[in-house]
């Protein structure tokens, strides 16, 4: 912390001016000559075979330049999950196929001179379907006789296709059986979570064209430009060298854009029409043709000693990935590996089936499996604490992971393979708990039993959560820097700023290392022709991994700068330092040279370009921690739950930009509140979405937001640049369990299903039984 000039400072976003003045910064902000509009014909059926498809009328329509069906494109099994090669997700997806597997699946695609013509052309495509029995309910997916969703022989990496099992995970540390035997109390509960959609302000959008050299340019709103380049090459069977992916400013991704979703089909239409093609999801399409959060059924069992010590925990999950297995085992793996080790139990077991259903495809979503797991774990832990007569805060104080602990479950559960053990090298969780508890008034409010008279009852609840910072041993990034004549630096990173502020944070890290002010760093990011490789924006990796690459590259460039300065100032390098755009001697003589003069010297006298690059990866994924405390008011007549105050205290390591970090917490909390209470994409029995619109998919708006308290508890992470870990995901995990626990405190009912709908609260209130009855049932061993 000492002496830092740019890191840790609330500088403004480097692209802020451009955004607020409406400069053409986003994918959609260009208009190309002859640009066509691409549209996908979505399947009206959850499961069907295309018996006949006739596109002649559509092709004959004036203004139509390309119509594609499965007959016109290469058949390459792949995954749309934007993951490092080789992707751990099943290769079960095709550019276009003769079978459709969910309502909204691709049947055909057209490119036409206007959106209206494209839509008309879609209506002219004649399709005969053989409608197949569909599996909508995940509980029935593995049942004997259930329709087989992926019966095609060429898909690979599917765990058990005949039973619709995309992936299966089983890991055990110690012996839970022994752990439960040694426990004084064992509690087991079942939880259910639902389908949440990312709802980015900017839906998926891609514009493709052929540049004068005939290379395919893909301008796209993507978290993963490099993975997209590789995957599009694989799917369209063209060399990577003939693809150029550009990621402009983005209007949010939240994981939904860690996916190659429109780029392949848009590219195919461009190759077929030889014209620029734009494809964009409407809001409705975004809801069911893009991705969503995996619904899960979780059975959680915990064994504790009488004094509250956790001995064993076991989580058994059934999850559905929808029609395709994008991120299927990795999201679910996280539900175990990032959740269970929060407690220092010697015995842990995680088992999970991820099944296919004829439903919209689930994928990466902020939290990546953790919101589901923590909802179960933190609600169960609250129940156990209450039944033991312990304050849940004390229970957490006693049991949560500590500095110096090694999380062994992570060693067994990596990204689709064995992982690496996680060592806690920085941990602000105790301070997080104490400060958020203070902010919510825990001590007073827990003591005062909520008054029983009015129909409005208040309660407070808490939850502790953690996440990772990059995927250990998998995620890597690179950065390149060169110096300009005016002493500024050009920074090129493959990192993909989704709107969360990566460009600013990475510039801050470069500026700090180089001893220049922020305006002396000009950043270009996420362009596969210009910037070096980066896996992309996911897994809370950008600050720690891409930032690590920037710091290394800047360190190397700094060394070059100091060498030039050493010649100019006639002083040894070890007596030089740089700050405020100059290099100066640290000895008593106080000589200095400005970066500008230094640059001119290097370029025109010494005739060499100060420049260098570096790559970076970590073999560990330092966890950021979060304590979430909620105060709610329950209307016992309507079942409505009002969140009055939500306090999040987060340990992100060093906050490179505290203001942006707080913004990430607040955004995650808003999304977490919606997840807890109102947001759900609902399907009917035939797999059709009932509410693919903002009228009936209810997000938290400004008026719904509770009072927020956001606290950053900074620690110094040895593996992170300037001590930074991550922040954008972890705060989304806490609201649901904290609210469920606050509801229990307020009205004595346990909520184990999300979202917490007023109807369900009311039903539970009506069914409420005396607490001691519950207790007996609970400890029946």
């Amino acid at each position: 912390m000492t002496g830092r000039k740019v890191v840790g400072v609330n500088v403004r976003k480097v692209e802020g001016h451009k955004l607020v003045t409406g400069a053409p910064a986003f994918t959609d902000d260009i208009e190309m000559q002859g640009m066509l509009y691409g549209k996908i014909l979505p399947s009206p059926h959850a499961h069907a075979r295309i018996k006949r498809i006739d596109t002649r009328k559509a092709k004959a329509l004036a203004g139509v330049h390309a119509v594609l069906t499965y007959k016109d494109v290469p058949r390459v099994p792949h995954t749309t999950a934007g993951q490092a090669w080789p992707e751990p997700s099943p290769y079960d997806t095709y550019l276009l196929d003769s079978k459709v597997r969910f309502v909204g699946d691709r049947v055909a695609a057209v490119a036409a001179e206007s959106r209206a013509i494209a839509e008309k052309a879609l209506r002219l495509i004649e399709v005969d379907y053989e409608v197949l029995p569909a599996v909508i309910d995940m509980e029935l997916a593995m049942a004997p006789g259930a329709a087989v969703i992926h019966d095609e022989p060429d898909s690979t990496k599917i765990y058990d296709r005949s039973h619709n099992i995309a992936g299966y995970i089983l890991r055990e540390i110690g012996s839970v059986e022994q752990g439960f035997r040694e426990s004084d109390f064992v509690v087991e509960r079942e939880f259910r979570t639902h389908r949440q959609q990312h709802t980015p302000l900017e839906p998926h959008i891609t514009i493709c064209w052929l540049d004068p050299n005939g290379r395919l340019v893909i301008r796209t709103s993507s978290q993963v430009p490099y993975h997209t380049r590789r995957q599009v090459g694989q799917i369209l069977q063209i060399p990577v060298s003939s693809i150029h992916v550009i990621k402009p400013r983005m209007g949010g991704g939240f994981g939904g854009k860690q996916e190659m979703l429109l780029e392949d089909i848009c590219g195919a239409l461009t190759l077929a029409s030889r014209r620029p093609v734009k494809m964009e999801f409407t809001r409705e399409e975004e809801f069911y043709m893009a991705r969503s959060r995996h619904p899960q059924r979780l059975r959680m069992k915990m064994g504790v000693k009488r004094d509250g010590t956790v001995l064993a925990s076991q989580l058994t999950v059934l999850a559905t990935t929808g029609a395709y297995g994008s991120h299927s085992t990795t999201v679910q793996g996280n539900t175990g590996s990032k959740v269970l080790p929060l407690y220092r139990a010697p015995h842990m077991r995680f088992e999970c089936h991820v099944v296919y259903t004829n439903a919209p495809v689930a994928g990466a979503f902020r939290g990546y499996g953790c919101p589901q797991g923590f909802f179960a774990q933190e609600t169960l832990v609250d129940e156990i604490a209450c039944e033991l007569g312990m304050d849940p805060l004390d229970f957490h104080r006693m049991n949560v992971i500590r500095l110096g602990d090694t999380d062994l479950l992570s060693a067994q559960l990596g990204e689709g393979k064995e992982g690496l053990p996680r060592v806690v090298r920085s941990c602000g969780l105790p301070q997080c708990m104490e400060s958020a508890a203070r902010a919510i008034g825990w001590a007073q409010k827990r003591k005062k039993f909520p008054s029983g008279h009015s129909h409005l009852r208040r309660g407070v609840g808490m939850a502790c959560t953690m996440q990772g910072s990059g995927i250990a041993g998998v995620d890597w990034a690179s950065a390149f820097l060169k110096m300009n004549e005016d002493g500024s630096f050009y920074l090129q990173v493959g990192a993909s700023d989704v709107g969360a502020g990566a460009d600013t944070v990475l510039s801050q890290i470069a500026a700090e290392t180089l001893g220049v002010t922020l305006d002396k760093v000009i950043i270009t990011s996420g362009d596969t022709d210009i910037t070096p490789f980066d896996v992309g924006a996911y897994a809370s990796s950008t600050t720690i991994i891409s930032g690590g690459a920037v710091k290394k590259a800047a360190g190397k460039v700094r060394a070059q700068v100091l060498e030039v300065a050493s010649r100019m100032l006639d002083a040894p390098v070890d007596q030089l330092d740089c700050a405020n755009n100059e290099v100066f001697t640290t000895c008593a003589c106080r000589k200095a040279v400005s970066m500008t003069d230094l640059a001119m010297q290097a370029m025109y006298k010494e005739k060499f370009q100060i420049m260098d690059g570096a790559s970076h990866f970590n073999t560990d994924s330092p966890p950021p921690f979060c304590a979430t405390f909620a105060e709610v008011e329950v209307d016992t007549e309507t079942g409505q739950v009002h969140v009055l105050h939500l306090a999040s205290a987060v340990d992100p390591g060093t906050a490179i930009n505290p203001m942006q970090a707080e913004g990430q917490v607040e955004g995650a909390v808003a999304q977490g509140l919606g997840y807890a209470l109102t947001e759900e994409l609902v399907l009917d029995a035939d797999g059709r979405p009932l509410n693919p619109n903002f009228l009936d998919y209810k997000m938290f708006g400004f008026q719904d937001m509770p009072k927020l308290t956001t606290i950053l508890i900074e620690t110094d992470e040895p593996l992170g640049p300037y001590g930074a870990k991550s922040i954008s995901e972890v705060p989304i995990n806490g609201p649901a369990p904290a609210i469920a626990n606050a509801i229990f405190h307020a009205v004595g009912i346990r909520i184990r299903k999300l979202p917490i709908r007023p109807e369900d609260v009311l039903r539970a209130l009506h069914a409420e039984r005396p607490a001691n009855l519950d207790e007996e049932a609970m400890f029946a061993l």
């Binding site: 309507t638 079942g639 009228l695 209810k698 938290f700 708006g701 719904d704 009311l762």
Partner: protein, 288 residues
Amino acid sequence: MFERVEVFYRPASVREAVRLLAGGKGRARIVAGGTDLVVDGDPTARALIDITHSGLAYIRKQGGGCAIGAATTMAELEESRTILALGGGILARAAATCGSIQIRGVATVGGNLANGSPAADLVTPLLVLDAVVVVADAKGRRKLPIAEYLAARGTKGLRQSLLVEVTAPRPLGRRCGWSFQKLGRTALDISVVNVAAGLQVDGAGRIQWARVALGAVAPTAIRAGATEENLQGRTLDAEAIAQAAEGVMREVSPISDVRASAAYRREMCRVLTRRALEECAAQAGCAL
């Protein structure tokens, strides 16, 4: 959306609007704020008739009551002194719950009624206020009590007519109480259930006049006629309110949809009716 629309008219008077509508051969649609019409995107529309410049945005005092032009916006209703004074301000209160500030700036009372949503928030207060709707077509103007208008809205005769204004009669005088209650999933939401109520008691606390209207629990917003009758002449006390609240549950016919189940809606009719009548009682000076 509206790809087939060939003309967009902006008539300067009611007469011209009516003429254009009659000449539209059933393919002309009136547009006011457009907050329902544009969302629906009716593909059969060939002509749009914008009535926001037809002299229909007004709130006038009239014979002790008031007249509200069809193109008056929610925002105007919310802030109007006349509307705030009318029936304890329930119409203003309902208007203030409609959508966001941007929606309320353009959404109109005429559109709210003509669109015919069972959840339209202005309808229950207007039912309680005994409002009358004035419609015009090529044959002339007609007055219809609002309930009749709601029932006949879909018929051929009314589909071809322009809603000109809504009038509310002279207020009732002393010892009245009024309430508007809305239940949504979030702050900005279409009603899952809404209830409006109004009543007047005599010196002994007996109910002289009562209105209870419920929205989103039947094909149109309805008045709970039997409940109103049962309240008539009774002393306004907790028991009367509890019975009325139970009673409305038998008068509604809610459906289950993605917003709520029928059972929940029915239960909420009870809760909101009780809350509405309790508020009325407090305003009418009746201790419960």
